[in-house]
């Protein structure tokens, strides 16, 4: 193959670097805006380095969006953790049953129904989900929010794909040895599934941390708001606390960004697999 010219290489680096900087600029701007005074921002909207960094914006959102910052943060952590744990358990069991008995009529119907419901524009499920939660007595509480967030297509596809690649000999050998189906699942299959469990857990954490609409709909008061919902409420309030909004956006952004950077291979690999083979 011909060796690319240094000029072409330099140009390629410049383009890729430029695009990357453009994609990262909003983060730098969000951080600097949370730390700069109004006067400083208005005189130099492009400036990124705060002359006199101030944490005032963070203090100003101690109570914001109808709740307290502490409460919204704890809600985010609690709801995300609980729904992630539940999603992993429920989807793993479900996908396992559906892949082990793909011909069972009930399971074929369940799979089709699940895929169909994942296609529905879910922002338009607001009234019916509200009604269902009302009928189940789950409106305004954490249970309804957590349960609703425990179902997702990516999780299902990742587990289904993994269980489909299980070598049948392993299960046959265990059956011949007299193992029950529960023993096969918990003693043999799940230990093998540890990497995919970790991938699904990480991706579910990222997806559910970002969820806002179901949380808003199922909440009866701001007491159950998570960070994105409180941020949205703050952004919609009259009067502009620009630095406060940026500070809150920053707090909402940092946890998933850290998780992603620490587990980038797992996350990107998992999302690719879940999409391509699903």
């Amino acid at each position: 193959m011909t060796r690319p010219s240094p000029w072409a290489q330099a140009l390629a680096l410049a383009v890729a670097g430029g695009v990357s900087l453009l994609f990262l600029f909003p983060y730098a701007w969000m951080l600097s805006s949370a730390l700069r005074s109004t006067r400083e921002i208005l005189s130099a909207p492009l400036g990124l380095w705060p002359a006199k960094p101030s944490a005032e914006a963070f203090a100003s959102i101690a109570e914001a969006g109808g709740t307290t910052l502490l409460r919204a943060t704890l809600n985010s952590l609690g709801i995300t953790a609980a729904s992630t744990a539940l999603a992993v358990c429920i989807t793993a069991l479900g996908a396992y049953a559906l892949t082990r008995r793909p011909q069972a009529l009930a399971f074929r119907l369940l799979r089709a129904g699940f895929l169909l419901s994942m296609m529905y524009p879910y922002m338009l499920l607001v009234i019916p989900v509200y009604l269902v939660m009302f009928k189940l007595g789950l409106l305004g509480g954490y249970t309804g929010i957590v349960l609703f967030l425990s179902l997702g297509p990516v999780q299902f596809f990742l587990f289904e794909q993994f269980f489909r690649t299980l070598p049948p000999e392993v299960i046959e050998a265990a059956t011949v040895d007299g193992a029950s189906e529960a023993q096969i699942l918990f003693r043999i299959v799940l230990p093998m599934a540890a990497p995919v469990v970790a991938t699904v857990a990480t991706i579910t954490f990222l997806l559910n941390w970002a969820q806002w609409f179901p949380v808003l709909v199922i909440s009866a008061t701001p007491d159950t708001y998570t960070l994105p919902v409180a941020l949205l409420a703050l952004n919609g309030e009259l009067g502009t606390n620009f630095q406060g909004i940026m500070a809150m956006a920053l707090i909402t952004t940092v946890p998933p960004a850290l998780v992603f950077l620490l587990a980038q291979r797992r996350v990107m690999g998992g999302l690719t697999d879940g999409a391509v083979k699903g």
Partner: protein, 293 residues
Amino acid sequence: MPGLAIRREGVFYLFALPFAALTILFGLWPILLSIQVSFTASATALQPHPQWVGLANYAAIFADPVFQASLARTLLYTVLAVAANLAFALAYALLLDSALIGWGRTVFKLAVFLPVVTPDVAGYVVWRWLYDQSFGAVNAALKLAGLPGFGGLASPGTAMLALLVAELWHHAGFYVLIFLANLAILDRAQTEASHIDGATTLQRFWYVTLPQLRPAIAVNLVYALIQFLKTFTAVVVMTKGGPADATNFVSFYAYQQFDSAQYGQATAMATVLFAIVLLVALSAYRVTERGRA
């Protein structure tokens, strides 16, 4: 022992039970309720014995000029957004995959993927302010470069473009990733053969690379079509459908109808959008399946 065999099969139904319960309670039941409400009069929709009105809600929304405009706008935006996202993602993935980039590939990939895992509300809130006429950086940058100002979200002529750019920032990294995964498994022998045959770069791309990218194009096309047909969060955070309805897409308009208690018409719109999403997804799937065979 047949009893034991039945019990052995029964375990699978036990495993699937929680998954089935959630699918029915929070997936299928609300969808059926939604479709049911679309055939009832809004004022009685939430009562135990709603009044059935047949297709009256559907007739009403298709006679509503705001809905007609909203539907046309949604389709236009979807086409533009899908084209822009896939073109950008393909070009960027080809650049990162090329021999021209020696180092920094991981950083360049992470930079465009980070917005995908950034909560959409947070990302769009930042973009809303980036477009702001006095606080924002977009107009400050244009001014610095001596370019005319950009109306951003405030002007009906530019609001859709401003929304598209913010949504591209949030979504394109995912499409880049899918293209890169496909590029990583290309048949290098074909590329080298075309080199020996003296094909130009453009010929090589058109006749060798692009056909092999069909799976990634198919996946991205289906995902992007569904994604942008349902555009909602960006509108809620950045424009509320305005200015002058310039970004009033079907999902947002239907949501507004909910808010003003027009349940029948709102759910009729939801059903129409659902039908379009299903139709698009199924036909895209069939076209690509046929292409693969």
